[in-house]
Symmetry: C2
Subunit: 292 residues, 2 copies
């Protein structure tokens, strides 16, 4: 068994991006500038946004963190989105989800200029993905593709079972892995809560993507010997042995499953760092897409 080390892969990507920034500087070009909008003080969201700002710092991107109290009006938030759309200094930006209940997340997502939507959540970017057209790929699935690619995981002709059909991971990843591309060319089966005999279906997979958000859902009996496993889950479960009182658990029962795998991502240190790395890749690509 080998670890699919997202942390190390993300560090390699950061090194490349640092170099790209240096080259842009030498050629007198603009430095990528990412803005992140955070509403409220949800612990998870704050952690994610801080990690994104930190990643920018490390590679020499400019970053701007815009924080609002959770009682900001939808109108005021949309006004800010529009301002960022029209600010030529901002190359890409994200509005960290979830948003408070009184704000329509879809309305906010659709208000973002697709050319600055480095999270890849805008319908236009998802449509471009379906058609294999240039655009921003959603960060988590794109990070998983990059992880497979940089670790030379063979995907062509492999049976891939994706557990979970979310809009931001399972569904887009099912499309990316099915396309005639590398990585890609998988025979993808997208499974979900209505799937009959899920364990049997998963057992046929050469590649398993667990993105269901249920800690330790995938057990050893569901896994074929030699499978490749990507664990997208990150659930906080109470853990009295930790000072902070919780531990991060993936969707895979790592200890019993890992010995059967050829490759497996750890949690943490697997998909998480790759998500941030692909956000950085998208931000650099924003310069190309917008001819800067």
């Amino acid at each position: 068994m080998q670890l699919l080390d997202g942390k190390a892969t993300a560090e390699a990507i950061r090194a490349e991006l640092r170099k790209a920034v240096e080259e842009r500087k030498e050629n007198g070009k603009k430095i990528p500038h990412l803005a992140a909008v955070l509403v409220g003080s949800d612990g998870g969201s704050l952690t994610y946004v801080n990690a994104k700002v930190k990643a920018c710092d490390e590679i020499g991107f400019q970053s701007t963190l815009i924080q609002y109290q959770s009682d900001i009006s939808e109108e005021a938030l949309l006004h800010k989105v529009n301002e960022l759309n029209n600010d030529p200094d901002i190359d890409g930006f994200i509005v960290q989800l979830p948003l408070p209940d009184h704000i329509d997340e879809l309305k906010v997502t659709e208000a973002i200029d697709p050319k600055k939507d480095v999270d890849g959540f805008h319908p236009m970017n998802l449509g471009n993905m379906v058609l294999s057209l240039p655009g921003f790929l959603p960060a988590t699935p794109a990070g998983i593709m990059e992880l497979l690619k940089r670790n030379n995981i063979e995907t062509s002709g492999k049976n891939c079972v994706i557990i979970g059909r979310s809009n931001i991971v399972g569904t887009p990843l099912s499309i990316m892995l099915s396309r005639n591309s590398s990585p890609g060319n998988c025979t993808v089966t997208l499974t979900h809560s209505r799937t009959a005999n899920l364990p049997e279906v998963v057992k046929q997979a050469d590649i398993i993507i667990a993105a269901i958000g249920r800690p330790e859902f995938v057990t050893a009996d569901m896994v074929k010997d030699g499978a490749v496993i990507v664990d997208v889950g990150t659930t906080r479960v109470p853990d009295a042995t930790k000072k902070r009182g919780w531990a991060l658990k993936g969707d895979v029962k790592f200890d019993e499953v890992a010995p059967k795998c050829s490759f497996i991502t750890p949690v943490p240190g697997g998909v998480g760092p790759m998500t941030i790395a692909s956000l950085m890749i998208n931000t650099l690509r924003a310069m190309d897409l917008n001819n800067k």
Copy 2:
């Protein structure tokens, strides 16, 4: 074995649409108006476009057919698209594909206002489909969904294997059938030229969608007893017994496969009429989407 009769189902839809047109007339509302742009004189394209115009006539929609020689410039075609986008009398329009080589099909598709894109080919509409948002669904997969629905085919929890990953049929249908909707909630496997052991994979399917464009590709040995089969293929093959010299063949070897099925679409008279019916449904929906 029962036929999934697309012709009869489409006729039922046309009757409903006729009624909807009558009601709109009675309420002093605008009658739906579809425009179709045809470039060149490809026999297949001409047949399709004529069938669409005829369907409009039959249900009382207005229609306008705009024909160009195959040497029309890309610029002139884009100019026409822009004119149709801005014509308040046109509710929806299509540009019949394929276009001649000197015209960029993608550029033309993206130039169509997504709110008038009743073919559902624009990236924005495909993205809306991925996110289950309002928009126009691509006509062929939407027609298949409607055919399954109106014939009470149970899809929830069923294994569905789609053969062929095209942008206009296989890929969008894989998403539609996976969604938490009715029809939908299938466990979908999307297969293609790189799929290993395709016959074995297909044999596990409760529902088979053949959309590969290879006549009689699906044979009896690939089909589980009691399967539901939707045949999207329409290939013209030489046939000396026919006056016109060719016959239309589906992707399924009908004679040997049909006896094993619970339901199967014929070719012709299966998916084809449903594609046109869903174009008509989209044209009527354009009125709602655009508040007319």
